[in-house]
Structure formats: C-alpha cells, structure tokens
C-alpha cells in the first residue's frame, strides 16, 4: 500500500504560471524525493530533500519540507508545456525501497 498522499490529484494551468503540488506522509523520514513521469522519459528523479533541510532549489523547481506537519511541496515556476507529466513524492522505507504516493497529474496548457 502507498503511504504518501499527493494533493491535488490533478492540476491544469496555463503555460507560464506556477504549479504547486503537495505531499503528506505518515511516518518519520530521513529524506523525501520527488519524481516526474511522462510517456517520453519514464520515471525521472528530480530532487531529494533531507529531513534537516527546509527548502531546496533546482532550476525552476523548489521543494519545501515541514517535518512537524509531515508534508512537502513541489513548486514549478514559469511552467512550460514540457512540464506536463505526473509528479510523485517518495520516501525511503528501510534502507532501500521507495514508497510512492499516488501522484499529481499536471497539465500545462499552451
């Protein structure tokens, strides 16, 4: 069973707008990871944020982590058509396997 919950399940915005996706989880974590999946490139690792970090940036991506609320958010700024994809948060369980959320389907309209 999946233990992460993404919100919203689907998001549709205009190109150039910002997109925010949220992820909640139930157990304590050492890190949280975000992945993107589209039909062209499969599942791709975007960013990892550790439990002692509150915010991390990578290009147009900004991830925040609030361990007290057990939640994380992914912000994509100045969205492009190529950002259309499903976005998943994932947390490691044990030392190896990842537990994924159900994902947010993001559509960028031209």
């Amino acid at each position: 069973s999946q233990q992460g919950e993404e919100d919203p399940q689907a998001l549709s915005i205009q190109e150039g707008e910002n997109a925010t996706m949220n992820c909640s989880y139930k157990t304590s974590i050492n890190n949280l990871q975000w992945y993107r999946q589209n039909s062209g490139r499969g599942l791709v690792h975007l960013i990892l944020i550790r439990s002692n970090e509150r915010e991390k940036h990578s290009g147009r991506l900004r991830v925040t982590l609030d361990t007290s609320k057990k939640s994380s958010s992914l912000l994509i700024t100045a969205s492009r058509a190529a950002d259309t994809a499903s976005y998943f948060c994932a947390r490691p369980e044990g030392a190896q396997k990842l537990v994924f959320g159900q994902g947010t389907r993001l559509t960028i309209n031209p």
Binding site: S1, Q2, G4, N30, N31, Y35, G42, L43, V44, H45, L48, R50, F88, A90, P92, E93, G94, A95, Q96, K97, L98, V99, F100, G101, Q102, G103
Partner: protein, 115 residues
Amino acid sequence: GAGVSQSPRYKVAKRGQDVALRCDPISGHVSLFWYQQALGQGPEFLTYFQNEAQLDKSGLPSDRFFAERPEGSVSTLKIQRTQQEDSAVYLCASSFLAGEGDTQYFGPGTRLTVL
C-alpha cells in the same frame, strides 16, 4: 549502457500463461529494484537485490511472482500462471550503492496486459 533498459516494452499474455520480464541495470550498479505500477497509481515495491542477493521480496504479491539476478547484473521477473490483476507496468530501477539516499534510476518499464 546509458541507462536502465527493460524488455519487452509491451507484453500481452493470455490468462494462465507464464511471462518473463528482463531488466538490464546501469553497469556497476549494486542495487536493483522491481516495482509494479497500476494504471493511475504510483509505483509499488516488489523486490530488491544487492548484487546477486535478494534481500527483500516482501512486495511480491503471491508465490506466482519470482525474481532472480544470478550474476549480480541482469535481472528477470517471472510471473507464472498470469491473472488479469497482474496487468500493470513493471518498472526496474538500479542504484550505484545500497544507501537510503542513493538515487534510483528507472527503466522505461514493461507494460503487461493479461487477457
């Protein structure tokens, strides 16, 4: 190779048939994972190898599912007597080391349809 490769990319099986799905991880990667992804859902963990050792198979849904990695590189996921509920995309991932923060690199997946 440049990334994780999987074959076949698509597989259609009649209910009751056996199937074998292949994964070629990135060369030198110690860890290899199999995940199952149902339509509209996130991937769910099936099993994990560190080199040739299968250290975790807690996610395999039944004893019809079997995975191996005999030489610590290529892995095969075998499903016996396939059922319709086995229809899903099967993803393979590899990582260089075996640590919690190591990035997992995913293959394109095999889409299995059981009729």
